[in-house]
């Protein structure tokens, strides 16, 4: 998923923590082959991934956010900050306990059965899982089928089903059907429900790995068709205002849920209710309460759900003061913003706050500076190599913060994602132009000469380049530093600072308007598989006239071919190797300057027993507790 300002990536700390998680998680398979020693997250900032034995039940936690979630509707939810809520309020087929490196069964009763040819996946659904009031009924396999089908509606703007689930049989026909009837969720024939407890997914090719991974995302959270249909008939769907929940928490609605703080149960006070959410005030506040119909023990939920309620407060525009409020306050945690590097230093040195009030989690994301390969001067691979070689990427990383904010990137697959080590790990591939993280002017000169610039500096009218980047730190600082680095090579840079949203929607994601340089782009995994890192940002097939995320506009036939065949590999080892090779190919074409695999840095109040979710890189609300 695209990095938004709502979730800033900070990678280095986490890697070590993940290694721990790996050993404790048996079922997921060994997808990380190392990285802990290279990630460099000091042990005191490793995120706890389990609640302490004496974790207390009850209490209300306040999450401070800068911005709002994207969509309350689980079919459209995509931001990290939204996942923070869906992980605690929805049970999708597969889920992510805080320490998981591979999806584990949540609504599914055990790992799915995959046929030998990798084309049929069978899920068993747990019995007894009930929807929150006012739906109140038990979840059936048909509800998951409907949830996936409705995500194709234009009124449910899902960001990933078309990328990862298009291999389901009947997907193309469903898209056709949608053209005739835009407001009814189309039938996908490849999703079968032989009985209420069974869900069978038939694929056209052996892409079960990304499909199962994608079914760990909120799109597979069940949606009751008879209840949601009326809302889905509108475009955009209004189901987001009437969401029903299956997890331990729910957004307060007009059924007026009241939590008993003595025995930590909840009850609906109003039985004559529509399910309209009253606890979500966009841009201001989200009020979560216990879901009266959730019974974790009886339905095999791994979530302990200590808290009685969670309040998300939005609109904290200044991360520094918000961090200070959390660090000095009670029962608060940070949501979508990282603390500034100054705050990080103050916490880490223990001068003002306790160091354990801060943790770092590898986000599984990268940040890079995209060089537009479709027009001069960056259509010349030697010029691009020179730019990368000359770039002091440590200086770029330092604009966000020190090592805690992540290691300097040398390629694109981030630490802890399968394929990271195979692609060269922290050291990266053996390419002279990415080797030195502090930049190497001699190598840069060599490539400039190769590109025909005898002096080693760019000369001529093609050397006037345009750049559109963030107008606020830290993105603005990154752009400023990179501008200087380009000028060292003789380029003359016309830098237009704009807001982060505008940077994407008007410039960098619109190929027709794209400047030569987009310094503030980045990508975070959709799930723990290298496909979700490389496919959308570097496949020529994914270039769109708008909302484009292949920012360099790289369209290389060899890479496109390698991607489409790597998607169907089911063997873990072969899969990691294949994607690592694609990573090598991409890095060798020098379409972008990779400069950080970032860590998410999170802070908490002293009385919060914070547990971080390593998959999502946020606090896990279903595991975090408040000490009395």
């Amino acid at each position: 998923m695209r990095l938004t300002r709502l979730r800033l990536l900070l990678p280095a700390l986490l890697v070590a923590a993940l290694a721990v998680a790996l050993s404790s998680c048996g079922g997921g398979g060994d997808n990380t082959t190392g990285g802990e020693e290279s990630a460099g997250i000091p042990s005191e900032f490793k995120a706890p991934t389990a609640a302490p034995d004496n974790a207390a039940e009850g209490g209300t936690l306040t999450v401070l956010n800068e911005g709002d979630i994207d969509y309350m509707d689980p079919g459209a939810a995509y931001y990290q900050v939204t996942y923070e809520l869906t992980l605690a309020t929805q049970r999708s087929l597969m889920g992510w306990p805080p320490d998981a490196t591979q999806p584990e069964p949540d609504l599914a009763d055990g790992q799915p059965q995959v046929s030998d040819d990798g084309k049929t996946i069978t899920f068993k659904i747990r019995s007894g899982v009930k929807y929150s009031p006012p739906v109140d009924r038990e979840v059936k396999s048909q509800d998951v089928k409907y949830a996936i089908e409705r995500s194709l509606l234009s009124g449910v703007p899902n960001g990933y089903t078309r990328a990862y689930l298009a291999d389901i049989e009947g997907f193309a026909q469903a898209e056709q059907q949608l053209k005739q009837d835009k407001t009814t969720a189309p039938e996908i024939s490849g999703i079968e429900t032989p009985d209420d407890q069974t869900l069978v997914i038939n694929l056209t090719r052996s892409s079960s790995v990304p499909v199962i991974q994608a079914l760990s995302l909120p799109v597979s959270a069940p949606v009751p068709e008879e209840y949601a249909k009326q809302y889905d008939a509108e475009s955009p769907s209004t189901y987001g205002q009437y969401v029903t929940f299956t997890g331990p928490y729910m957004v307060q609605n007009d059924c007026d849920i009241k939590v008993d703080t003595a025995d930590h149960t909840a009850e609906a006070q109003n039985s004559d209710c529509s399910g309209k959410l009253t606890g979500y005030k966009p841009g201001k506040e989200i009020e979560l309460v216990r879901n009266p119909n959730w019974d974790g023990e009886a339905t095999g939920d791994y979530r302990p759900a200590y808290l009685d309620a969670v309040t998300v407060q939005e609109g904290f525009a200044d991360p520094t003061s918000a961090s200070q409020k959390i660090l000095t306050g009670d029962s608060q945690v940070s949501g979508d913003f990282p603390p500034s590097k100054t705050i990080v230093q103050e916490v880490a040195t223990g001068n003002k706050y306790t160091p354990d009030q801060m943790v770092a989690v590898p986000s599984g994301g990268n940040r890079y500076i995209a060089l537009n390969v479709t027009k001069p001067p960056f259509d010349d691979i030697d010029v691009r190599k020179a730019v990368i070689a000359n770039s002091d990427r440590t200086a770029l990383r330092n604009t966000r913060g020190g090592e805690l904010f992540g290691p300097v990137a040398t390629h694109f697959i981030p630490p802890l994602i399968p394929g990271f080590e195979e692609a060269g790990g922290i050291q990266g591939p053996d390419l002279d132009f990415v080797k030195n993280p502090d930049g190497d002017p001699a190598v840069a000169k060599k490539y400039m000469e190769k590109a025909g610039f005898k002096s080693g500096k760019c000369e001529g009218s093609d050397c006037d380049v345009t750049m559109v980047g963030d107008d606020a730190p830290p993105g603005f600082d990154t752009a400023t530093v990179f501008k200087n680095q380009l000028e060292e090579l003789g380029f003359s840079v016309d830098f237009q600072p704009v807001s982060h949203d505008i940077m994407y929607t008007k410039f960098c994601s619109v190929p027709a308007q794209e400047p030569n340089v987009c310094p503030n782009v980045g990508w975070i995994k959709d799930f723990n598989d290298p496909q979700s890192i490389l496919q959308v940002p570097f496949s020529g097939d994914s270039i769109n006239p708008s909302n484009n995320s292949n920012w360099p506009q790289l369209d290389d036939p060899a890479i496109n071919k390698a991607i489409s065949s790597a998607v169907t590999i089911t063997d873990e080892k072969q899969r990691a190797e294949a994607w690592a090779k694609i990573d090598d190919q991409v890095t060798a074409l020098a379409p972008a300057v990779p400069w950080v695999w970032d860590n998410d840095v999170l802070v908490r109040s002293e009385d919060v027993n914070g547990v971080a979710n390593l998959f999502n890189g946020e606090w896990d609300l279903a595991y975090t507790s408040v000490s009395k």
Binding site: G402, D494, Q496
Partner: protein, 344 residues
């Protein structure tokens, strides 16, 4: 006297900034010295032997940025004050001398401008002039910058009107028609020039000067108008008129020389205001972006002032002393040139 010495030094330092920075062995203002940052947290570090004023959060030398910042402050101060004074004097002369509807239009325009909170207006203008997203996507320039057809039309018509107005005034009389045509032409010309798309108008010092000049001429215009209203009734003007002098001769040869003292005084009072104005705009993020400026440095430092006092303190002191010096010099000018205005 001390202020004069300080200002002279400041001007020399600003002009010879690269030399001064070299003498002190400091790196250039945009050099990001990674070794100067805290090695673990990449945060700013305080004064040291290499960086005598410390470095900011990107590793840039604060001393060198303060020195280079003086250039921005002084250039903006003098150029913007110059334009604001010219605009104000012309508007005041024309309004006061011709009275009637000319005066009404100009005076009401001044009233309207004064009624708009000047900082808000400046922020709006600066934001519009530095960047905007029109229907065509990329565009920069005032008024959306996508006035493609209008630009040449405005420039041509405006230019013709100015030429016609000046020609009319020099061949016939400097009357309402000449001043009206010149004024309207100048406005059209300005509109045309600022609406030229992308490369010509970029965020930065030019826009800041434009914005400050456009919002600062009003006080001078009022003062000059008031003076002219009384001067034009004086005997020497009467006699000039009786002996057949034209409007332009009366305005420029009879009235203007009598206004020299107040104009110099008010211009010198305007200078420190303009410096603060520029600092405020840069502080708010709509000012100078491509080179170091004191307001911008103070703005960068606000978030972390309690920890990194040095990169607010030094530009702050520079701003304080510069404004103070200009104020004292302005005061002295007033005493010297306009003794009657002396406080009783």
């Amino acid at each position: 006297m001390a202020s004069l010495v300080f200002l002279t030094l400041l001007i020399i330092v600003a002009i010879a900034a690269p030399l001064v920075v070299d003498i002190f062995g400091a790196p250039g203002p945009n050099v990001e010295d990674q070794n100067a940052l805290n090695s673990t947290f990449a945060t700013a570090t305080g004064p040291s032997s290499v960086h005598i004023f410390g470095v900011d959060g990107l590793g840039r030398d604060v001393f060198s940025r303060v020195i280079y910042g003086a250039r921005v402050s002084l250039v903006v101060a003098f150029v913007a004050t110059f334009f604001a004074t010219i605009l104000g004097v012309i508007a005041g002369l024309v309004a006061g001398y011709f009275r009637g509807w000319t005066d009404t239009i100009i005076s009401r325009a001044v009233d309207v401008l004064l009624a708009i909170p000047y900082l808000m207006l400046a922020i709006g203008l600066a934001a519009a002039c530095t960047f905007s997203t029109g229907s065509s996507g990329t565009s920069a320039g005032c008024f959306g910058g996508h006035i493609d057809l209008q630009t040449p039309i405005l420039v041509i018509i405006g230019g013709l009107l100015v030429v016609a107005g000046v020609a009319w005034a020099s061949m016939r009389h400097l009357d309402e028609w000449a001043t009206g045509a010149t004024g309207v032409g100048a406005i059209l010309l300005m509109l045309g020039l600022v609406s030229i798309p992308v490369p010509s108008v970029k965020p930065g010092i030019g826009v800041v000067i434009f914005v400050i000049a456009v919002t600062s001429w009003t006080y001078i215009a009022r003062i000059v108008r008031g003076q002219v209203l009384s001067l034009r009734e004086k005997e020497f003007v009467e006699s000039a008129r009786a002996s057949g002098a034209g409007h332009s001769r009366i305005i420029f040869r009879e009235i203007l020389p009598n206004l020299t003292a107040p104009i110099i005084v008010y211009a010198s009072i305007l200078v420190p205001q303009v410096i603060l104005y520029e600092a405020a705009l840069s502080y708010l993020g709509v000012g100078v972006v491509d080179q170091p400026s004191w307001g911008q440095m103070i703005s960068d430092a606000t978030g972390d002032f309690s920890t990194y006092w040095w990169y607010m303190l030094f530009p702050g002191l520079a701003l304080l002393f510069t404004v103070l010096a200009f104020n004292l010099v302005g005061d002295a000018m007033q005493d010297a040139l306009n003794p009657r205005a002396k406080k009783t």
